[in-house]
């Protein structure tokens, strides 16, 4: 029976067709976010600036964690990164002005709930600032074990905020 014989080929073609449709990213309007904020930045510039800011924090934090994971941590490298952490995150409390959420149309993983719960959000930002302050103090002591504990606590404050306020990736 011709129909029956070709069913395997049909089935295989359907599978190939299905799997080929997996790709494709989310459409983001390239012109979105041109509105001006009260701080003089456009929405888009603000979102990109904070993304760069978080990347800078991630890079410094990675330096510390890399050293802690290596067999012989370079305490000078840890101290340098721990000093830079408060610098690169200095403006963090102002990185999320009203209007820079997902509703802006700019690609962002920030969730709208940030602006629904401003007090909790601010408290979590303060936890982070306190944690990196403690981390810097621990780094200055030069004791690897204190740095380890402080870095772990810092990671906890990153996670606490990201679990709640950032799109799960």
């Amino acid at each position: 029976m011709a129909y029956r014989k070709s069913s395997f080929t049909l089935c295989a073609a359907a599978v190939l067709g299905l799997t080929a449709c997996g790709g494709g990213g989310d459409a983001v309007d390239p012109n979105a976010g041109s509105e001006m904020l009260s701080n003089g930045m456009t929405v888009k510039a603000q979102i990109e600036a904070r993304q760069d800011g978080f990347k800078a924090i991630g890079a410094e934090f990675k330096t510390i964690n890399d050293q802690l994971r290596s067999g012989s941590p370079d305490i000078a490298a840890i101290q340098a990164a721990a000093t830079k952490l408060p610098e690169v995150s200095a403006g963090i409390a102002d990185w999320f002005p009203q209007g820079t959420g997902p509703e802006s149309g700019v690609e962002t993983e920030a969730l709208a709930i940030i602006w629904d719960e401003p007090e909790d959000y601010a408290a979590k930002v303060n936890d982070f600032k306190a944690a990196i302050e403690a981390l810097e103090i621990a780094a200055q002591t030069g004791e690897v074990e204190s740095v380890q504990a402080a870095a772990q606590a810092t990671g906890g404050t990153c996670k606490a905020c990201h679990d709640k306020y950032r799109l799960d990736d």
Partner: protein, 224 residues
């Protein structure tokens, strides 16, 4: 067993163990990544690399049905094989058929890319990284992470295709591919001429295991 069918060994025990251990580990890797259990993800990943290395070495020194180079099909054998898919009854190939061979090569290639990129991947917070994450910058590690995620999507597509193909062979071609992967035996009308016995020489198994272990040990020693 249907009348006039004979049982022939097509997969040695190490290939079967590899297959099911890999299936389990891939699920575990997915789950730990989704849950954010990165400590486990890293250790299971090391185990998965060990499995892959074993299989790649076994693909060179193992029995014929495990060899990987012979899986690269010529266009003639591929077209010839696709034509036999319309035969009724369909007679299964010994070991990998040309299409299945391509599928295995694609799966092993993407798994190798997946494991390799995972070694250098760094998470978005700079908190976790793969075994070799500390040898690359934050930005490079993030790029490896993005690649790790893309390859995973490709892997999911290939695994889906793999499972659907097995179901199609079962339902349309009346060929059970799962059974042979469990007990190594395939039922077929006759043993083809020149069929070599599928045997896992303990000495060769040991060599492949030692190489896999050495690779894992090196990653553990140089990474962190």
């Amino acid at each position: 067993m249907a009348a006039n069918q004979v049982k022939v060994r097509v997969w040695d025990w190490t290939v079967r163990t590899f297959h099911w251990a890999l299936a389990l580990l891939v699920c575990a890797m997915w789950w730990t990544a989704e849950q954010g259990f990165m400590g486990w993800h890293k250790w299971l990943g090391l185990g998965l690399i060990g499995l892959l290395v074993y299989r790649l070495v076994w693909g060179v020194i193992g029995p014929k049905s495990a060899r990987l180079f012979r899986l690269v099909p010529g266009p003639k054998s591929l077209v010839g094989y696709i034509k036999t898919l319309n035969d009724r009854p369909y007679v299964p190939a010994m070991g990998h058929n040309p299409l299945g061979g391509l599928s295995v090569l694609a799966l092993l290639t993407s798994l190798t890319l997946q494991a390799g990129s995972g070694l250098f991947a760094v998470d978005v917070d700079g908190l976790f990284s793969g075994w070799f994450g500390r040898y690359v910058s934050f930005d490079t590690g993030r790029a490896f992470s993005d690649f790790h995620e893309s390859v995973f999507n490709g892997l999911i597509a290939l695994i889906t295709l793999h499972v659907i193909a097995i179901a199609a062979y079962r339902l349309i071609l009346k060929t059970n591919l799962v059974g042979p992967m469990l007990d190594g035996q395939q039922e077929r009308p006759s043993v083809p001429d020149g069929h070599a016995t599928v045997h896992a020489s303990p000495f060769r198994v040991l060599i492949a295991l030692l190489i896999a272990f050495a690779v894992c040990w090196s990653i553990f020693s140089f990474g962190g």
